[in-house]
């Protein structure tokens, strides 16, 4: 796979604030990359730097082999879908779609033809003569995407495009955007704070925090082998349980949930006596009768969505267990918690890195 977009040593300062810290990232042609992280992690800044809307203060960005660091946005040949859609309110859908063609001097007849073609693929054919204010949220979203498609750009940039839609439509548009990406064979960079969007849509997920790439890789690799405590807690919902533990002899560690030490097998070797964090995903723990699991814990409360039951334990720290189906346990009941050895992640207690 050839590289379509390359960030090398990219830095961005806002005055004294260091927003992007030495970002190195290469994005293959035709891939769908998600930039994900909590608010203020620099994911939008990175995307806007790629578009040219922010000037980087160090490093280089290249698109399709050409260094674009100093080029203005209009010369970079990338299309962006904004969170607010940024549709031109005084233009009809057709005029919105063909704005870039008009700016580049394409004749009116060809513009109409191009708009009709794109509208047919995105289901906007009947809406071409409406104004943005006459469209629903989902339709506006489609116009914003069509406006990007019509240009056939070197890369599609998405800046949290689904966050203004309701939950049902968001799930639908997720699939639609991904299908569109596959059909066009385009290179897409997608910014989101929603790890589910990143996991479901992207080929490659980049997790950012405080201007640093914490980890990047295929979605399931991030889920299975998080590089540190932050990624482990960020990817997956509900978040991973973390238990402070002390390494004991024979590949084991002891945890303390408030009722005396509990001995657990860990999959890695660590210096005896060092403190580590044990991570177990809620969905990897199953409930058993008391005494039949690794250890017992009292139930603090349960929440059920019908298909899934969330059980929290009255321990310190609290543990979250996700059970498929319905589980009839009452608050205060003692339950056993069972999990496989492979479900245990171990992180260094000080550096929080995976061991």
């Amino acid at each position: 796979m050839t590289t379509q977009i390359e960030f090398s040593g990219v830095n961005k300062h806002y005055g004294a604030y260091h927003a992007l810290k030495d970002i190195n990232l290469s994005i293959g042609k035709g891939s769908f990359v998600a930039l994900v992280g909590p608010s203020g992690c620099g994911k939008s800044t990175l995307l806007r730097s790629l578009a040219g809307l922010e000037k980087i203060t160090g490093g280089d960005i290249s698109i399709a082999g050409e260094v674009v660091t100093t080029l203005p946005p209009r010369k970079r040949d990338v299309a962006m879908v904004f969170q607010s859609y940024a549709l031109y309110p005084h233009m009809t859908v057709e005029e919105n779609l063909t704005y870039s063609l008009r700016v580049h001097g394409v004749s009116k007849g060809e513009r109409k033809k191009a708009a009709a073609e794109v509208a047919a693929t995105t289901g906007l054919s009947d809406l071409l003569h409406r104004y943005p204010r006459e469209l629903s949220g989902g339709q506006r979203q489609r116009v914003a995407m069509s406006r990007a498609i019509i240009r056939n750009p070197k890369a599609f940039l998405f800046d949290e495009p689904l966050s203004n839609l309701d939950a049902a439509l968001r799930v639908h548009m997720r699939k639609e955007i991904r299908a569109l990406h596959d059909r066009l064979g385009a290179t897409s960079v997608y910014v989101t704070h929603d790890q589910i969007e990143a996991m479901t849509m992207a080929d490659h997920v980049v997790v950012l925090r405080a201007g640093i790439i914490e980890q990047q890789g295929r979605p399931l690799d991030l889920y299975d082998k998080p590089a540190n405590k932050f990624v482990a807690g960020f990817i997956g919902s509900p978040a991973m349980n973390f238990l402070p533990a002390t390494v004991a002899e024979g590949r084991a560690a002891t945890i303390d949930l408030g009722k005396g030490p509990i001995r657990l097998t860990i999959p890695v070797a660590a210096p005896i006596g060092s403190s580590v964090l044990i991570g177990i995903r809620p969905e990897h723990i199953t409930l058993t009768a008391p005494g039949e699991g690794r250890f017992d814990a009292p139930v603090a409360f349960t929440e059920s969505t019908g298909s899934t039951t969330f059980v929290s334990t009255a321990t310190n720290p609290e543990l979250m267990v996700v059970e498929t189906g319905r589980r009839m346990v009452a608050n205060g009941d003692l339950v056993g918690l069972a999990f496989a050895d492979t479900a245990v992640h171990v992180f260094d207690g000080a550096t929080e890195k995976r061991l």
Partner: protein, 300 residues
């Protein structure tokens, strides 16, 4: 009685009271004089019948006589020139200033506020200031033009019939430009930044963005401003009184000044009223356009 009281305290009666007070104010202070003026323009009025409302009806005679006066068409022409030049000058200068302050350099908002000083000054004071600036022999305006080699001889702005109207127009542009600037600044800042970003990514340069995004998005602001400008410019009386008094030989006389001159200097109240009615019609049309353009505001 109780119901009436409770309605007045927190019901429909209270609402009606709130609307009634300004409505009564408007009727007494604007509506009645307006109707009185319209009625008077169709009557024969002299010094002796001035105090009575019932006067001999003369139909269109006042209008006919007014139009027949030799100075009627020149004065209408001056009014049109004054309107177009003032509005164009105020708008262009105001837009240029608004775009300038939009760049948001350090101290921009402070400086922009300072510009409003010209607008809050009374017309008579502005007139006095411009009398000095435009003065033919020692005026600063002439001095600057001289230094720039635009003129070689002094221009007597206020007493030369070729320039007298323009001396008032220059003062009026100075007076109104900052008001235009403020309204246009508001219009500019209400355009979301991401539209410009989207346009930039779509390949539009700065000039294209101005023509295809800024101007169309400002359409309602501009429409409102032009009609407000028309209304304010037709109301501009103080500057004429202070700078040229309509002279020399009516060369800077305009409808609004002439109406006052006819009524209160020549005591020909009927003709003064007639010319006011003509102006009322023009202002009414401008108001309709103003209301329509503010109603059609497009906000994404």
């Amino acid at each position: 009685m109780r119901r009436l009281y409770s309605s007045l305290v927190d019901g429909r009666g209270f609402d009606l009271c709130l609307i009634g007070i300004p409505l009564a104010f408007l009727i007494v202070l604007s509506g009645v004089p307006l109707i009185y003026n319209v009625v008077m323009s169709f009557q024969a009025v002299d010094m002796f019948s001035l105090g009575s409302f019932i006067r001999p009806w003369v139909g269109h005679e006042n209008y006919r006589q007014l139009i027949a006066q030799p100075e009627f068409w020149p004065i209408m022409g001056h009014t049109a020139t004054f309107l177009v030049a003032s509005i164009a000058g105020q708008f262009l200068l105001g837009f240029a200033l608004a775009l300038f302050f939009w760049m948001n350099f350090p101290g921009a908002s402070w400086l922009r506020g300072l510009f409003l000083v010209s607008w809050v000054m009374p017309g008579l004071v502005v007139g006095a200031v411009w009398n000095w600036l435009l003065s033919g022999d020692f005026g600063v305006f002439n001095f600057v033009l001289h230094q720039l080699h635009i003129i070689s001889d002094n221009v007597f702005w206020r007493s030369d019939p070729a320039f007298s109207l323009w001396s008032v127009i220059i003062a009026n542009i100075w007076l109104g430009a900052s008001f235009n600037m403020i309204l246009l600044s508001v219009g500019l800042s209400s355009i979301p930044d991401d539209l410009y970003e989207a346009a930039e990514l779509d390949g539009a340069g700065a000039l294209t963005r101005f023509w295809t995004i800024t101007l169309p998005m400002m359409r309602s602001t501009i429409g409102a401003l032009i009609s407000l400008g028309l209304i304010f410019t037709l109301q501009q009386f103080d500057l004429f009184a202070a700078i040229t008094a309509g002279g020399p030989n009516n060369s800077s006389n305009v409808a609004q000044y002439w109406a006052w001159d006819l009524s209160f200097k020549q005591y020909d109240f009927a003709k003064g009223a007639a010319i006011s009615v003509i102006m009322i019609v023009v202002v009414m049309l401008a108001s309709v356009y103003y209301v329509r353009s503010t109603r059609h505001e497009v906000r994404g």
